[in-house]
Symmetry: C2
Subunit: 137 residues, 2 copies
DNA sequence: GTGTTTGCAAAGAATTTGCAACGAA
DNA sequence: TTCGTTGCAAATTCTTTGCAAACAC
C-alpha cells in the first residue's frame, strides 16, 4: 500500500495514477532489488486486476522509464528486466540459479587516462558472473 | 578465405565443416571486433548462399558457443550479439551511435574482501556507456 | 469535458523447433 | 554408409501497436 505522499510524488511527475499503475508501483517498491521482468509484474498484478494486459505493464514501465524512475537491463537473456533502483550500482549474476544481486559498494573501477580522454564515459556498470553464496557447496 | 590450418583447427573441435559454416567463420574472423547480431551474419552469408536460413546461422553459432569459440552478449537491446573474442575484455557502448568498442587494457576492478569471500566470482565484465570519440563535438 | 490510459487483438521482432532431404567424413 | 547439417515453415517468446471504450483529473 503506497502512502499518500508517495502517490503525490508520482502524480507530480506527470503520471496519471490509475489503480493498475498503483499496483505496479507497489510491486516495484516492494520488490526493489528483484529486477523483475514484465512477466513477473504482469503475473503479480493480474491477481488483483484479472483484466490486466501486458500492454498496460509495458506502457506503465515506459512511462516510468521516461521519468527516470526505472532502468531497463538486459542480463544474459533476450528479455528486459526492470530496475527501480536507478542509483548507479553493480550486479552479480549467479550462473547456477540465475539470481541477480545488487552490489552498491566494495567495487572500484580504475580507468587509464587514455580512455578517459578519448571516450566520454557517462556510466560504468560492472557485471560479475559466478556462483552465489546460496549455491556454493 | 580461411587457411587449411584454420579449417583443420575447427574440424578438430568436432565441427563438420560445411561451405555455409566456412562462410560464417570467415565473416566472424574478418569482423573480429564487430559483435555482430545473427541478422548481420545472415545478411552477409546470404549473398554467397542465397538459400541460407536463419536456422543455420543460429545452429552454427550454438555449435561454436558449445566449443567456447564465441560468447553471447546482450547489450542494451533484446537481441544477441556474438563475440568471437572470448578472452576476458570489457566494452564501451556509445549511446549516440550504438558502436561497441572492445577495451582490453586500461581497466582495473577492485573488489572488497567481503564480496570475494561470499561470492565465487568467475568473470568480471565492465560495461561503459557514454559518447565515443567519433560522436563528440 | 479533455486527453490519457486501458485492454483486447493483431502485428512485429528475435529465436527455436520439427522434419525431410542433403552432404561431410 | 552414417550421422550431423541444412533449410523451409511453423511455432514460441517477448515486445509493440491500433483503436475503441473507460477513466483520471
Amino acid at each position: 500500500m503506497l502512502s499518500e505522499e508517495r502517490i503525490e510524488y508520482y502524480r507530480n511527475l506527470g503520471l496519471k495514477i490509475t489503480p493498475q499503475r498503483l499496483a505496479i508501483l507497489e510491486y516495484l517498491e516492494k520488490h526493489f532489488t528483484a529486477h523483475p521482468t514484465a512477466e513477473d509484474i504482469y503475473r503479480y498484478v493480474k491477481e488483483r486486476f484479472p483484466s490486466m494486459s501486458f500492454a498496460t505493464v509495458y506502457n506503465t514501465l515506459e512511462a516510468l522509464k521516461e521519468r527516470g524512475l526505472v532502468k531497463e537491463l538486459y542480463i544474459e537473456e533476450g528479455k528486459k528486466r526492470f530496475d527501480l533502483n536507478v542509483q548507479p550500482h553493480h550486479h552479480f549474476y549467479c550462473t547456477s540459479c540465475g539470481r541477480l544481486i545488487d552490489l552498491h559498494e566494495g567495487v572500484k573501477v580504475e580507468i587509464s587516462e587514455r580512455f578517459k580522454n578519448k571516450l566520454n564515459i557517462l556510466e560504468i556498470r560492472v557485471f560479475f558472473l559466478g556462483i552465489c553464496d546460496r549455491c556454493q557447496g
